[in-house]
Amino acid sequence: MRGLAEVYRQQFRTTFASFVQYRASIFIWMIDRILDPVIYLVVWSVVSRSTGGSVGGFTPGRFAAYFITTMLVTQVTYTWVMFEYEYRIRHGSLSFALLRPIHPIHTDLVDNISSKLITLPLMILAAAALIVIFKPEFSLVPWAVLLFVPALLMAFAVKFITEWTLALSAFWTTRVSAVNQGYFVAALFLSGQMAPLTLLPHPLQVAAALLPFRWTISFPVELFLGRLAPREALIGLAAQAAWLVLGLFLLRTVWRAGVRVYSAVGA
């Protein structure tokens, strides 16, 4: 365990140092993560005003609270490994990772966390600015805000493990971008990024809850905004735990099968 902690410490130093070199592109991606929710927020506010001030119980102020929280949750939970795996496999950088006596997922985890630490201060500033501009109505409940912390961390874990596993499709197909597109479109609707899930047709809400999507973004947002009863909150945490366990199992299985394919075909 101490060995792994030391690897993480060193990996943090390395990744942090090299990300600082890419400040500009990291901030451009960050702008994307700020603009997305702002656009949805503006659109929904307009819709809400034109339909008498509220859509499905969401006033413009509520929408503002929803999308600002969503922005911050997305900031904590996003990953980009799905865009990188094909490159790693085709260009052989995975080979170096396989020669090391450590699972390559550790590097990705540290990379992910480092990039977030770098952009966090600006993200908080952005949130503050949006709060001033859009005047969100928060109705926070202390116990829910407390539970939000583990829910947020679990959401990140589930999303990271799910996307890392999906990224491994690159071992079998060269059409990774199609897999990615399919996944991201589904995530856009089903994780609550584009609209609160309660505004979606019932079948989609069911799909979002049965798949990991709701638990990766929408659930912590709903919890933070005080929209869940204690029982619903506990069910959510249990669903996250279940997806995490299942995800880890799938990751292990798919990874082993993938490496076998890789080592049969070569790079």
Binding site: E6, Q10, R13, T14, S18, S95, L99, P101, I102, S263
Partner: protein
């Protein structure tokens, strides 16, 4: 009794399945429905042993199966058949204990983090390979001396020249003091001075650490400087396994002399070169002669004495040519 071999291959083979199709639209559409698969045998039943501490050149033309073999030896590829053991491990199980004892350096690829100084990548390797701090310091300082790394360790890797980067790559790959070192074209693209430097270092490392080294290179000079024994493969098959001296003596019974005469020299002088050896080619005023190995010094002396020479070089035939002859079974 001799010690157990560090590396042992028995009838090792690797077959890839490749899809193929003709060029053109029609063939492209047909391939959507039916893909023609073809088995490509990259390595075809090769066997050899390497004793601990041995340094062996692994030669063959492009596509001979060298890299595929190295990838099987380092655990990146599953063999399709045969047996393989490296330090008692089956490489493709990729056990941590195995990975901590080996290294693979690929001259055309790099593992160092591009944007930070190599020293920081070294620290990361220290943690990953769990190298005790004292050993790490000793190794880094030894490698710094041997490779003259001093100032370049502190510069971001992307600002280094190819040669400097290669030195750092080699050092990074050896920090954990691997007992088995696989080198795939470690000097490719480097200038002669840097090639010599890397070569001298590999020899020194082998001496000091007693590591077993298997090296592929297209540069005959690398092989000559480092390896007493060479293994030659072609089309995935073993063609030669023995002393380098025997290979070179047996298959390069000739040397080539390239002569450039003064432009003022008359045509007769040029034509007269045929008297000194077999004229292989004549290009831009440079004549390439093939002469028996043993005669080289005498013939060179005569040419220099007799003709208005501007430039003269004596070369071994390229390694590809030597291997080609081994393959063709040409007699000296």
């Amino acid at each position: 009794m001799p010690p157990d071999p560090a590396i042992r291959l028995r009838e090792l083979s690797k077959t890839f399945t490749a899809t193929e199709r003709e060029s053109g639209m029609g063939a492209a559409l047909a391939s959507l429905v039916h893909r023609r698969r073809q088995e490509v045998v990259a390595v075809d039943g090769i066997s050899f042993d390497l004793a601990p501490g041995e340094i062996v050149g692994f030669l063959g033309p492009n596509g001979a199966g060298k890299t595929t073999t190295l990838k099987m030896l380092s655990g990146l590829l599953h063999a399709s058949g045969g047996e393989l053991s490296v330090l008692g491990h089956v490489p493709w199980k990729r056990e941590k204990a195995f990975l901590r004892k080996i290294t693979l350096v690929m001259g055309q690829r790099n593992q160092l983090v591009w944007d930070i100084p190599a020293a920081d990548s070294f620290e990361l390797n220290r943690a990953i390979y769990r190298i005790p701090a004292a050993d790490f310091r000793a190794t880094v300082s030894e490698l710094t001396d041997l490779l003259d790394l001093g100032p370049i360790l502190r510069k971001p890797v992307r600002t280094l020249s190819l040669g400097e980067r290669m030195k750092c790559e080699v050092a990074a790959a050896l920090l954990h003091r691997p007992q088995v070192v696989f080198l795939d074209e470690p000097t490719i693209g480097l200038d002669v001075t840097m090639q010599r430097r890397i070569r001298a270092f590999i020899a020194e490392y082998n001496q000091r650490s007693g590591a077993t080294v298997l090296l592929t290179s297209h540069y005959m000079a690398d092989v000559e400087a480092l390896c007493r024994r060479v293994i030659v493969i072609h089309h995935g098959r073993l063609l030669f396994d023995g002393e380098l001296a025997a290979l070179v003596g047996k298959f390069t019974a000739h040397k080539t002399i390239v002569v450039k005469l003064d432009e003022g020299a008359d045509a007769a002088a040029g034509a007269g070169l045929a008297a000194y050896g077999e004229v292989v080619s004549e290009e831009d005023g440079a004549v390439t002669l093939r002469v028996p190995r043993a005669e080289t010094a005498r013939v060179t002396g005569r040419i220099l004495a007799d003709l208005p020479v501007v430039d003269l070089t004596v070369e071994d035939p390229p390694i590809e040519e030597v291997i080609e002859r081994v393959f063709a079974g040409e007699k000296p």
